[in-house]
């Protein structure tokens, strides 16, 4: 059996998205900046995609900027808000310790430029409260950037409350909604979001394309100079096939959100319930306020990369926050941020589902994952020491 359970990494493109892209790779290949009719047909596709995406987010079409993906959108949002702050002498930025690296590394860069970065504690369940944000806001705060939902442990953050607070305090609010778009209801007006990033390939759209939403009046700084595309804020000929595919995918995901959420949540909860029976294991993140498709566990006494390899042998595609999978020396910063020790973080497993997963697949995973964990524990000196009482169990 082949099971794809790594939908938080990327998703399979939907038929709808592929069909929407094909005309712009084949017959209608014009440059939307060209005056001739072939170009103008591409320009129409661009305008329609912008309108469709705006409608899915509760935004205006002119507030949608197409980018190369979530990382670029995050970079541009943060750098723009920081520049706007600096002009007013405001150089304090609030974020969380478990943001995506596209945010954290941009914040590090801003720190070197003299900005003061305050990362809020996300607690054991991986969330922050509006009260925490309120406490951190100062007269010189220029930006609050907090993710909509976490990519590893799936926790959903109180974005509407934080948005309302920031609007009331007059501070720009950016949210990295890469994991949320197409999966959770987004309404930038109701949730009082000033800047938002999303990426098409997380909701069955194509890779290499995304959106920066910037509320009207929020000044943007260019990361890429050149032509006047995207109202002069993002140069480069637009990737029309990808943009058309993204719009079709987001429209479909938004239309089916309720149905998909119900289905995926049921699969997720069955998987969580079954994996919880593995001794000395723990679910990461909150039980209820989590992305419909996210299942994240830590298993004591084993290392995540070897678990992924064993599961891959069984046809299961999953992910881990262990150091060995990232090529770095430390395990996932997200797991460390929610208070997992290094040892426990090394033994992490993320399974991220979508509406195409089935009951049979869940049953298969529930049969195979405990076996794989047991097999690795059987050769682990760390596990032996724990069962022999030479080391303490942490979970």
């Amino acid at each position: 059996m082949n099971i794809y359970a790594d939908n938080a990494a990327t998703t399979k493109m939907s038929r709808t998205a592929i069909e929407a892209m094909l005309p712009y790779m084949d017959g209608c290949y014009g440059n939307p900046s060209s005056l001739h009719s072939l170009g103008q047909r591409a320009a129409e596709a661009l305008a329609k995609s912008r309108k469709d995406i705006a409608a899915c987010l509760g935004a205006e079409p002119q507030e949608i900027y197409f980018t190369s993906g979530g990382s670029e959108a995050d970079n541009q949002a943060l750098i723009s808000a920081a520049a706007a702050g600096e002009r007013k002498g405001k150089k304090h930025i609030i974020s969380t310790a478990f943001e995506h690296h596209a945010v954290l590394h941009t914040l590090e860069k801003l720190k070197k430029q003299g900005f003061e970065i305050e990362l809020l504690d996300v607690g054991r369940e991986g969330t922050v409260t509006a009260a925490q944000v309120e406490k951190a806001i100062r007269p010189d705060t220029c930006l609050v950037t907090i993710m909509f939902a976490n990519n590893e442990i799936g926790s959903i953050l109180p974005i509407a409350e934080i948005g309302a607070l920031c609007r009331q305090k007059g501070v720009l609010f950016h949210t990295d909604a890469v994991q949320a778009a197409g999966h959770l209801p987004i309404d930038v007006k109701a949730q009082k979001i000033d800047l938002l990033s999303l990426s098409a390939h997380k909701f069955h759209g194509p890779k290499g394309t995304g959106v920066l939403f910037a509320r009207k009046g929020v000044p943007l700084v260019n990361l890429i100079e050149g032509g006047a595309q995207e109202r002069g804020k993002r140069a480069g000929t637009e990737n029309i096939p990808a943009i058309a595919g993204m719009a079709a995918a987001l429209k479909e995901a938004t239309a089916r959100m309720e149905e998909n959420t119900a289905k995926v949540t049921a699969l997720r909860d069955r998987l969580i319930e079954g994996l919880s029976k593995i001794p000395h294991s723990a679910l990461s993140g909150a039980k209820d306020l989590r992305l419909p498709g996210n299942v994240h566990f830590c298993f004591e006494g084993i290392e995540g990369e070897s678990l992924l390899l064993l599961l891959d042998e069984k046809g299961i595609c999953a992910s881990s926050g262990s150091a060995c999978t990232s090529g770095s020396l430390d395990p996932s910063h997200v797991l460390l941020a929610i208070g997992r020790s290094h040892e426990i973080a090394h033994g992490s497993l993320r399974l991220s589902l979508c509406e195409e997963n089935t009951d049979e697949e869940i049953a298969y995973m529930l049969a195979e994952i405990p076996k794989a964990v047991e097999q690795l524990r059987g050769m682990s000196p760390l596990w032996r020491d724990k069962i022999n009482g030479k080391r303490e169990f942490l979970l």
Partner: protein
């Protein structure tokens, strides 16, 4: 291209010599839980020959494959030869490891040396301490 060679995957899928030797003559354990890899090697030694070797490993695929290969390479060999086993030889026998996984082969080399040293210590054999890495060299990663 796959992350690992077919040989690494073979030793990962079917690790040789997994387990414990209850009456081992020498035991070596290197690495730590914080770094995400611990390797423990058990040796049975008769007349300076390694008659049996077993391992337990907590770690990634290449750590498991490195311990499996290393135990294969030293079984039936004299101690002097086992002490000459370099991490490069382990990696080469596995048809190579990705650069950032080379430390797994270092762990295997160190675990064998630690097991031999343990044997010398337990059996009161005089030996040249300089040929063994000190504890500081075990700090191969995050500590």
């Amino acid at each position: 291209m796959a992350l690992y060679s077919e040989k690494v995957m073979d030793h990962f899928r079917h690790p040789r010599n997994v387990g414990v030797i209850d009456d081992a003559d020498g035991i070596g354990e290197v690495g730590n839980a914080k770094c995400g890899d611990i390797m423990k090697i058990y040796l049975k030694i008769e007349n300076d020959i390694i008659t049996d070797a077993k391992f337990e490993t907590f770690g990634c695929g290449s750590a498991i494959a490195s311990s499996s290969m290393a135990t294969e390479l030293i079984k039936g060999k004299p101690l002097s030869e086992a002490l000459q086993l370099s991490n490069k030889a382990v990696a080469e026998a596995l048809d190579g490891l990705p650069a950032y996984k080379m430390h797994c082969s270092v762990l295997a080399e160190e675990a064998i040396k630690a097991a031999v040293q343990d044997y010398y210590e337990k059996h009161g054999v005089a030996y040249d301490k300089t040929q063994f890495p000190d504890c500081a060299s075990c700090a191969h990663c995050c500590e």
